[in-house]
Amino acid sequence: MERIADSRPDGNQIEVSVFGPGYGESIVIHAGNGEWIIVDSCINPLSGKPAALEYLERIGVDPASSVRLIVATHWHDDHIRGLSKIFRACKRSDFSCSVALQSRQFLALVEACGTRHMMSSSGVDEFYEILSAMAHRAREASSPGIHPRWAIADRPLWRKSQPGANADLMNQVHALSPSDAAMRRSLEELASLFPLGRSPKRRVMPRSPNHFAVVIWANIRGTILLLGSDLEETNDPDTGWAKIVVSGTRPAGRACLFKVPHHGSRNADHPAVWSDLVDSRPLCVLTPFWMGSAQLPRRSDIERIMQHTDNAYISADLKAKRLKRRKPVEEMLKGAVRSIRPLHSSFGHVRVRSSGQMDPKELAVDLFGDAIPLNAFHAM
């Protein structure tokens, strides 16, 4: 029988849970004392529900009262499916996303390309729903305005002191990106995605590299986490990882847990991240990705990551298990396609817990569902 995580962490335990179905990812963090943080959202293909919400409900945590911060690291499809449901459920939570999403350009794009004109894609749809929920709350609230914590490089997003603890154990979450230059590129991209008059109606297709991605640096009870989102290295010193590693205003410290960015791709790798931002031999977690012929991580990516650590895990293995349909359908498919594969062929959960007040670097890893050690991944 497949293992499912169904126990709540103790009040003193830190937990980082990474969910990934082969398309998308979601991270749930227990910051101690029943306070939770959710970073991004994906759907469990088996249940159709947002993985983060489903997990919290399964372990007996009430999202409405326990989630303190939701972070949307960017607005692309694979990182925010189901996020609007999470936003609606977590009524007491702060919300954070890239400062570029505050812009007229982004809101106009959402208004134009949301459900109203039937050109919706799930990334835009989710934000349309989140903005609708915000508007609803704004109308009902006594003080007007809804103010997310806008993420920009080196800005604190959340701080909470631990009861009875000294200042060093204050929980903190910072954004390390986007940089000012990345923000400008984001706005340019948004402007270019806005439709032109008399152009055909099509779904919005975000561009690469991803200038919106919010990298999270979190210090939870002395345990430092680096969550790399989808930030790529752009070879532009003013954007990407190059800008982060040279920043003089980012928080100090090295992470012992590293969520490897952009599914382990070479495009998101920067040597200085390994030398300056994370511990030697950190605990690494990543999620896989498969679109068309692009599968991540590749074998070379795994080898590169394993040179830095042997303590690495991945949330799912990309086994191509297709649902076979009725024979007449399968026969017609054979003639019409060169290849066809499911987007979510597997779903797994990597859970990392610390033993509380002891050495925070003693992190216990449990694997659930299709999660496996990285060196067991079937890479191309």
């Binding site: 293909p45 060169r338 594969r341």
Partner: protein, 193 residues
């Protein structure tokens, strides 16, 4: 149960006004055309050139005898015609084009039967009709159905149909409305400060 004969009267459907049902199976288009022809011959002069031939032929024949024209009120008995042309879908997807190659395109497919997960496929361009080929661009939406088609000759064949969605192009007014709505939202949320 008895065999049914659906009664349909052109006038009563119009006069009822409240029925938004019984659409395609109430009026056979040929019946409608015939009903209008009868109206014209009874004095309604709003004819198109299409009907003038029939009208002038009728006039050439001389006044209609009571055997040729039924007396009003007119009742059209609808008999089921075995010549219906229909397609039953075994599987339907809604797709979005991700990229286009020389002889194929990559697409993300959502299972409209709600049976399987989303899929990605490399589909041959040969599967797309000539008229739809210019529509194969990243972001374009299409519908793909596989099923059985039975023609008016009762012959059944298995078919795969890809049809690209066609909607009116963006108008300046729609885009302006999106911008205005965005401004209102920013004001409401207090993001314009």
């Amino acid at each position: 149960m008895l065999r049914s004969q659906s009664l349909s009267t052109f006038r009563s459907v119009q006069e009822a006004g409240s029925e938004s049902g019984e659409a395609g199976f109430v009026m056979d288009p040929d019946d409608v055309a015939g009903a209008v022809r009868l109206q014209l011959e009874n004095g309604d002069s709003s004819a198109t050139p299409l009907l003038e031939t029939q009208l002038s032929t009728a006039k050439q024949k001389g006044p209609a005898t009571s055997e040729e024209l039924p007396e009003p009120p007119i009742v059209w008995l609808r008999t089921p015609k075995p010549t219906l042309d229909f397609l039953l879908a075994l599987q339907k997807w809604e797709g979005t084009v991700l990229s286009k190659g020389r002889d194929s395109f990559q697409a993300r497919l959502i299972d409209r039967n709600r049976v399987g997960p989303d899929e990605e496929a490399e589909i041959l361009l040969d599967e797309v009709s000539e008229d739809d080929l210019p529509l194969v661009t990243p972001g374009a939406v299409f519908y793909w159905s596989i099923g059985y088609h039975t023609g008016t000759n009762r012959q059944k064949r298995r078919v795969s149909i890809i049809r690209f969605r066609r909607l009116p192009a963006w108008t300046e007014k729609e885009l302006q409305q999106a911008n205005e709505q965005a401004e209102r939202l920013r004001d409401l949320l207090g993001w314009n400060e």
